[in-house]
């Protein structure tokens, strides 16, 4: 029996693979687990004392109680509205012969990528009860004496949030409808079922899990949207959990314990929602019968297709065209109250927003570097976690995977409270610098990166990497020369998927920024507080342009993505 080459065998334990992946695990723990731990500790009053008072306050104080009730009501309302908008549009686009389906589809995507607090700002201009442009128009046309619509109401908040979050319902329903093979319907029809019977008895049960899953996703997202809840909810005098948490901390003296307890309540709501959503989407699996080669029946509507188009056009006009239009118009107007005319046009607000206003200019710079930094960190951690999950047999890797998905259930406000509690006391200088924002963003968006890289890695067979190893390259060389080059488009997509929401992040930033670390969202939020609506709109248009361009890039890259792995089995 020969001798064991102990050196190279022992070297494995501290080899580059374990070093890289170990580092990623450490980062994940620091970014996600550590703040969550503090959130829980904070709710029990640590470090000052150890008490259950905060939970008692969270449930018994009228303010907290009504915030909870309002949040539930909001979730319920957005659920209903998302279902109405999402399902009908999805059906029209996926199954009918309505004209302009492509455009409707794109406009839904546009309403999704537009930061919802911008939509909220736009709707103050559009639907203010007395001065709102749409209200004025309605009064001129129909002769109402007041209103008639009031954005500053619970219905207003539900509406503004729904026209953003209904996209989840739309996309899930759309893909489910697209994946039902026509043969399923045809066989029903062969058995004598009428069109409506087929729809009700065959299609609906098949897509119901997707609809439920999509609606739940819409609801979960709506609970967390601090921006519109604050921008519309404040004037409406309606308080939701995220705005309540924010006020609890931003008033003086700040009440951390109460904020933490409220945060846990909010987390419980979203986590329950996500659990349900998973449950429904898992049941969906029987719908996706193969991916390709699915032939779907198009339903001919005759003259009705124009009526359907009118309905769909109205929805996307409300969700995308009108808000973006009015923001753009205001951004280019000298006087935003004055009627539209050539002489009222100006580029000056863009000059102010992009160059001369200090907070705005700093915000743009910070947003770019934070988004890039967070995208990089999230991509690196996400890639490592996905790799660990798919390519190693490390014990506890599913716990890591779960941890990497956990932030999905953490609204930005909650994440911020956790990060604040966790890092404000650390002796390392993170609090009050741009690093704390980087931490919060990376943590928040790690799930997006992990999912995306995981999908990419699944397409790259493990044998490609192993072929590199057996041909003599070390793990690091195989990564650098085989896996990373092959995954590059996928990694770029993951990077962009984080960059886009990080670029316009508001709900966590509002609690974490300080002088010098303002972001573009903060500039928008704060300048809006200061009444500089034209500059705000210029910033809004800039933001939308950036996220739109990057989203187009994602779309482009994702379409090309299958190309390199073709012919690889």
């Amino acid at each position: 029996m020969g001798q064991l080459i102990a050196g190279s065998l022992r070297g494995q334990r501290f080899g580059p693979q374990n070093l890289v992946l170990g580092l990623a695990i450490l980062v994940l723990l620091v970014l996600v687990a550590y703040p969550m731990l503090w959130l829980i500790l904070g709710a029990f009053g640590v470090p000052q004392d150890l008490t259950l008072d905060n939970f008692q306050r969270a449930f018994t104080r009228a303010q907290n109680y009504s915030a909870l009730a309002n949040t539930l009501q909001l979730g319920f309302g957005t659920g209903l509205l998302s279902m109405a908008f999402g399902v009908s549009l999805a059906w029209a686009v996926a199954r009918s012969d309505m004209p302009g389906r492509q455009i409707i589809h794109l406009l839904v995507a546009l309403s999704y990528i537009t930061p919802p607090y911008l939509t909220a700002l736009a709707y103050i201009i559009l639907l203010g009860p007395d001065a709102g442009l749409i209200n004025r128009l309605l009064r001129d046309v129909f002769g109402f004496s007041l209103g008639p619509l009031n954005i500053f109401s619970m219905n207003g908040v539900i509406f503004v949030i729904s026209i953003h979050v209904f996209a989840f319902t739309y996309f899930l329903t759309h893909s489910a409808l697209k994946s039902i093979d026509a043969s399923l319907e045809e066989s029903a029809q062969m058995l004598g079922a009428r069109r409506w019977q087929t729809t009700l008895r065959i299609n609906l049960p098949l897509v119901a899990p997707a609809i439920t899953g999509g609606v739940l996703l819409s609801v979960i997202d709506s609970l967390a949207l601090f921006g519109p809840q604050a921008i519309i909810g404040m004037p409406a005098q309606i308080v939701f959990l995220p705005t309540r948490i924010y006020a609890t901390i931003s008033s003086y003296p700040p009440r951390w314990g109460e904020a933490s307890a409220l945060s846990l309540v909010l987390v419980a709501m979203t986590v329950i929602g996500l659990g349900l959503q998973r449950f429904f989407l898992e049941r969906r699996s029987y719908v996706t019968i193969g991916g390709k080669g699915v032939r779907s029946q198009t339903i001919r509507l005759g003259g009705w297709r124009w009526a359907l188009l009118a309905v769909c056009a109205l929805v996307v006009a409300m969700s995308a065209a009108a808000p973006i239009g009015v923001l753009t118009l205001t951004a280019f107007s000298k006087d935003w109250i004055a009627p539209l005319s050539l002489s009222n046009l100006t580029l000056a607000h863009f000059g102010t927003a992009l160059f001369s206003d200090q907070v705005a200019a700093r915000g743009i710079y910070n947003s770019f570097r934070l988004a890039a930094g967070a995208a990089f960190v999230a991509m690196a951690v996400g890639a490592s976690i996905a790799y660990l999950d798919l390519r190693t047999n490390l014990r506890g890797r599913n716990v890591l995977d779960y941890l990497a998905m956990l932030p999905l259930g953490l609204p930005g406000t909650v994440m911020a409270v956790g990060v604040l509690l966790a890092f404000i006391r650390l002796p390392i200088g993170v609090y009050g610098t741009i690093w704390i924002l980087l931490i919060a963003y990376s943590a928040r968006f790690i799930p997006l990166a992990t999912r995306s890289v995981s999908a990419t890695l699944r397409q790259i067979d493990a044998s490609l990497e192993e072929a590199g190893r057996i041909t003599g390259s070390s793990w690091l060389q195989s990564m650098r020369r085989i896996v990373v080059p092959m995954a590059r488009p996928g990694l770029l997509v993951a990077f962009l998927l984080v960059f886009i929401p990080a670029f316009s992040e508001l709900s966590a930033t509002i609690l974490l920024y300080t002088g010098g670390t303002e972001t573009i969202a903060i500039a928008i939020y704060r300048l809006n507080d200061l009444g500089q609506i034209e500059v705000v709109c210029a910033l809004a248009v800039f933001t939308i342009a950036v996220v739109l361009a990057l989203s187009a890039m994602v779309h482009f890259l994702s379409r090309d993505r299958t190309a390199p792995s073709e012919g690889v089995g």
Partner: protein
């Protein structure tokens, strides 16, 4: 000590025992095939040899160096082996040339030498002129050759092949078989080959190792394995076989119904119920038996002409035997028949 010593290898995945006590020695320049049904652990064994899997028990020693032991394994890149994967694993982002040159670049071979060695190996596998192509532009057979070239160019001492031909169509598979065999003879590299196709294993191998449910069943030359299967599984897996229940009734004799057959024994069985395995082509319809042959009388139940052979079903008194006669056989259903069979062809095994 052999070139490769596999000593008591075991591996579990969770609660699942994928390999149990694998004991095997392989000589230099040998062509060894791991044969067995899907899921029996062939790939796991191969990947353990390659260093992708660390065994839970046992050691793997190559030329006296321990490469794997429980809890520790020399990483694959340091083992100087080559491997051809079932899906070829050609890197799609590199040209044929770059794919093949990869190992040489990693080893910091000079550019000029890389060029000449890659050119030589591409010629050897019949890919001259395709160096510039990208994998997407190659047929399955060509990709297969790239994979071979890529693993051979670094001149490994051992080449591991995991069902390399299973994705090719039948014609191409035949041709590649011949080429692989020639290549192995010419290069003198030790081949360890994995397949579930027993014809392929027999055509290629110096030695076949049969696996089932993570255990080694038998090893030996193709002929040994075919003619002297160690157990029913091997007998079954290697080709068609009649499994006849009988009872041990004396030194090297088994009673089957009214017949008593002279047999050879695969195991030390001296008593009780046993199974006799007889290949259909070993049963010869005759008029008289030769000296020492068993003679069995029966009635033809069915006769099917298949071109190169005639397939008979013969009833020998409650037991049906499957017989492959040559194509000149004219027996028809209902005809009486006498079957001759060598005792060596009647392999007795324990019942399972």
């Amino acid at each position: 000590m052999a070139f490769i010593d596999i000593d008591g290898i075991g591996k579990t995945f969770g609660a699942f025992q994928a390999l149990t006590d694998i004991q095997l020695s392989i000589e230099a320049c040998e062509f060894v095939t791991f044969l067995g049904p899907s899921g029996c652990g062939k790939t796991t064994m191969l990947r353990t040899i390659a260093g992708f899997i660390t065994p839970d028990a046992g050691t793997i020693t190559v030329e006296g160096r321990v490469l794997s032991q429980p809890g520790a394994a020399l990483p694959p890149e340091l083992r100087q082996m080559g491997m051809v994967f079932q899906n070829y694993a050609i890197w799609p982002h590199m040209s044929v040339f770059e794919n093949v040159a990869f190992g040489l670049r990693i080893a910091h071979v000079a550019d000029a030498e890389i060029k000449s060695r890659v050119a030589r190996i591409l010629e050897a596998v019949g890919l001259e002129g395709l160096a510039r192509r990208h994998p997407g532009q190659l047929s399955g057979g060509q990709q297969q050759r790239v994979a071979l070239a890529r693993s051979l160019v670094v001149e490994p001492k051992i080449l591991l092949l995991d069902e390399p031909l299973s994705n090719l169509d039948a014609k191409l598979r035949e041709r590649m078989r011949v080429e692989l065999k020639t290549l192995q003879r010419r290069t003198g590299i030790t081949f360890i080959y994995v397949t579930h196709d027993q014809a392929e294993a027999m055509a290629l191998s110096d030695r076949i190792v049969v696996f089932n449910q993570g255990r080694m069943q038998q090893q030996g030359s193709p002929r040994d394995i075919y003619e002297q299967p160690a157990n029913l599984f091997v007998a079954d897996f290697m080709g068609l076989v009649n499994r006849v229940s009988g009872e041990w009734c004396g030194p090297a004799q088994v009673r089957i119904g009214a017949h008593v057959l002279d047999v050879t024994s695969a195991a030390a069985i001296r008593i009780g119920a046993v199974t006799v395995a007889i290949r259909p082509e070993a049963l010869l319809p005759v008029t008289t038996a030769l000296e020492g042959q068993n003679l069995i009388e029966g009635v033809v139940r069915e006769s099917v002409f298949l071109g190169n052979i005639v397939d008979l079903c013969v009833d020998i008194g409650g037991v049906e035997l499957h017989v492959q006669a040559d194509r000149w056989c004219t027996l028809a259903a209902g005809d009486p028949v006498r079957l001759a069979v060598e005792p060596a062809e009647c392999v007795v095994m324990k019942n399972e």
